[in-house]
Amino acid sequence: MEKSLLAPGHRACAGCAMPTTIKLVLDAAGPNTIVVSPTGCLEVTTTPFPESAWCVPWIHSLFENAAAVASGVEVMLKRRCKDANVIVIGGDGSTLDIGMGSNSGMFERGHKVLYVCYDNEAYMNTGVQRSGSTPFCANTTTTPSGKISLGNPRPKKDMPAIAVAHRVPYVATASVAYPVDLRRKVKKALQVSGPSYIQVNAPCITGWTFDAGTMVEIARLAVETGLWPLVEWENGVVGQVKKVTRPKPVDEYLKLQGRYRHLFKMPDGGEMLKQIQAIADANIAKYRLVD
């Protein structure tokens, strides 16, 4: 990794997981790659005009149409008989909410594009507003915790399941804390002849509010508690699953983050912690995380 395809000098927060994620994706994909990005932290921090941190061709158009732009790039490459990896890298806001329609179109038309979503579980760039990916009980500026609310009342949207329902041949979840696993999944996805989708858990120091330096530890705890299972779906069937030998209680993951602080202070918080534990337990049972 001596020569990263993402140059330093980008403006991401100190301790952000997103640049590490991009670095790993580009490392696995190599220089023969064209990246399309929707609006988001990634676009704002890596391309402050007139600079760009990208060492591969990179295109930004709008918030909602990255998948449509990538589809066009892929078709044009085919027309000109050229071969390159086409990758969309976008946040959860553009992937799960705003760009959902164009993602659906790209999946359904079967373009050979890898879509990587770095999932920081809210609209971090605009000031931590709730997205479809915000987990249950998380405090955001649009789901604030207080006397009448314990944070986000809805569970996280299951985007991998939506991709699987589109018959996307390769779908996976990954984590910034498991770089070898992430690189392997990117390489595997690029071998697939149709679309592929990888959702990477990428903690946000500003929105999740945790101590500097604990970014990787938090991402690892999400996997170890069962809240972020590392799963692959090949042609709709669950393939390799990262086993968790002894799942940790969800409290260990939640108590490190400011966005869940209210659960440990408010009288009804304990009940919510039980419900979050139930989400982890359901994942553990569903994907057989424990042998």
């Binding site: 301790g15 760009s52 990208w54």
Partner: protein
């Protein structure tokens, strides 16, 4: 109406912005403890931790190390060190180091 094409900029051009100025704490590597597992290099969000030969003074100077700091490095060895021009001092490397060989030290400029 004339439609103007999008803006094109040079690749890797954020290199002109030295984000090292953001830093409060600087990672200092204890090269005796380092087992060269390269986890710091992998996790660094800036991609600014590099493997360098300790006698490669030119590169080390380019990474903003003083002659005194370079003299303190072990002789003729591959060392993992952050490029101080870009390191934002996030301390992910110090936190993830399995040998706790990286210490975050308050930097006085």
């Amino acid at each position: 109406m004339e439609i103007k094409a999008g803006r094109l900029v040079e690749p890797c051009s954020t290199r002109i912005t030295l984000t090292g100025a953001w830093r409060t704490f600087v990672p200092v590597v204890d090269h005796k403890k380092c087992i060269k597992c390269n986890l710091c290099e992998i996790y660094c969000p800036e991609g600014c931790i590099h493997q360098v030969q300790s006698n490669d003074v030119k590169t080390l100077r380019a990474y903003a190390y003083t002659p005194e700091q370079i003299a303190d490095l072990p002789k003729d060895e591959t060392v993992f060190i952050p490029d101080l021009n870009y390191c934002k001092g996030c301390s992910v490397c110090a936190h993830e180091c399995p040998r706790r060989a990286i210490e975050m030290v308050l930097e006085e400029k």
